[in-house]
Symmetry: C2
Subunit: 320 residues, 2 copies
């Protein structure tokens, strides 16, 4: 099964750089860009998974340098270090990994005279628990975890780079992406983590009672949004990128059970302060300004993730 992805002529982009190109979002983005005619440099200290880049070329640079991004029409900054849950424990690492890395990206972007940068921020953590849902970009920011605090600071530095140095700088506040190449063993994202547990008949860790609402978005829809931004000519700089709706964790588990055709085991844990009760983004600005729309249906997206997982994630390789 090959899922739909909103088509755009990306050959116009010419050469592009993807910081964090070996990660979940980065790898999907690199693949789509390369397939669509762009010349892609993935910048990541980690190697690119060989099986993910068959059939096209992606240049790989381990270090983020001026030389690595030189000649690009855009730098995509999709690298992440910590996760929301662990960020509250490793506060300094989160700051260095998120804000410090963003400063590095902006520095090489500026020094290589790349005219624009597109940064993946966090739709799920910058707004805070009191925001209206669906949450528009204009809602007050009030992050309740260190990850959100750092992402907001990183966003600020992008805006500052545009103000001071004229770099077109975009922040995409992405909801909860899931899909192929999201390693379920790293605790990245509930959908793949749960699918993987269910696939291996291991218990799913459920924090709280399952009534938490999340805005799950297939990675193809994130990639299509990212690719539209460098072609955008309007004045907006911050865009929510979500599915347009919300799903409870309990419903996610039910849907996984339907897909698997059997019940899954659940390991109940207390609720976490890091979790806002409901996160659903208002995506009308991106629809209107970018002409973007999410195209992957939830059920087919979930199935796509499972299909990928069966092929690429060894069942026995579970690491805790």
């Amino acid at each position: 099964m090959v899922l739909a992805i909103q088509p755009t002529d990306l050959s116009r982009l010419g050469q592009v750089s993807v910081v964090g190109g070996a990660g979940f979002i980065g790898l999907n983005l690199c693949r789509h860009l390369a397939r669509s005619g762009a010349s892609v440099t993935a910048i990541d200290p980690n190697p690119l998974r060989r099986e993910a880049i068959e059939g096209f070329d992606i240049r790989h640079e381990r270090s983020l340098t001026r030389q690595a991004v030189e000649g690009s029409s855009v730098v995509f900054h999709v690298a992440g270090s910590t996760e929301p849950a662990s960020s509250n424990i490793h506060l300094r690492e989160d700051m260095a990994g998120t804000v410090g890395l963003t400063l590095d990206v902006l520095e090489v972007t500026r020094s290589a005279e790349v005219p624009q940068v597109v940064h993946v921020s966090s739709g799920g953590t910058v707004y805070g628990p009191k925001a209206p849902t669906p949450t528009p970009e204009s809602a007050p920011t009030d992050p309740v975890c260190a990850y959100g605090i750092s992402k907001l600071a990183a966003e600020g530095h992008l805006q500052l780079a545009e103000r001071l140095h004229g770099i077109r700088a975009f922040n995409l506040r992405v909801a909860n992406p899931y899909g192929p190449w999201q390693d379920p063993r790293r605790g990245q994202g509930a959908v793949n983590a749960f699918l993987h547990r269910a696939m291996n008949d291991e218990p799913i860790e459920l924090w709280g009672n399952g009534d938490i609402i999340r805005d799950f978005l297939h990675i193809n829809d994130v990639v299509s949004a990212l690719c539209l931004v460098p072609l955008y000519e309007g004045d907006q700089r911050i865009f929510n990128i979500g599915s347009g709706g919300g799903l409870s964790i309990a419903q996610l588990i039910k849907d996984i059970e339907s897909l698997m055709g059997r019940p899954v085991r659940i390991d109940r844990r207390p609720g976490r302060d890091v979790d806002v009760p409901c996160s659903v983004l208002d995506i009308n600005l991106a629809r209107r300004e970018l002409g973007w729309r999410p195209m992957v249906q939830w059920q087919e997206g979930l199935e796509d993730s499972l299909t990928w997982m069966k092929q690429y994630v060894p069942a026995e390789a579970e690491t805790r």
Copy 2:
């Protein structure tokens, strides 16, 4: 001349710590706390100016450690590293100095089991140019300089410390403070810098045409607000602390000329991106919740600053 300061019985605070106690805000705060019956530890790598602490005792610790704050009823975090204008050049230093130091403060506060922390944030840089004026605490944040970005992240970490660890954590968004012990040679604050230039018959650097509006607040009014917070029992955690009004830079210069009885020379420079056109804080929340009010009149505050400067800042010691 001794200026009014809103009276509060501070002996109830017992032992207190002031991180940044050798700086402008810190020194004024330490002096007032010590005079009012609190037992004060100033924590600062720099020495306390001996002439500022005559007549009372202030313990001085150079290092921010658990031992230094142990037994305190409150930690005041009034340390600042960079200035708004230079923060845009030294982005990493600003992040480390502002956010990193705040993480250090929160860590020792928690580890020493001090129940509350009061942080001086920046009323002039966190809101951004589109905020309504006077600006209430609920206005969207949109910092236009690295200093504001970092202050906002520091604020977030205080709120996170309360959420995760139960530390009562307050952010005071202070406007543009001026007054005694603000070193005019460090580029801290327009009022003292301009007064000092005028006093030495040197030209005042004017960035832009002087129509920028600032909310100048005498340090005594900042100190009285800081001292009311640890005694506050309500639910609010973020307070604007300003004068209640705004003054143009051009008017500031005129008022300095009136005070000096002679015209001052002006060195005109282009406007700076770091400057929002108008910064005036809405202080009704602090009035209502803390029972605080600014008491120093502008003219008497300006005169107080000049009187202090004539006594304590050598005219010949100008450093650039």
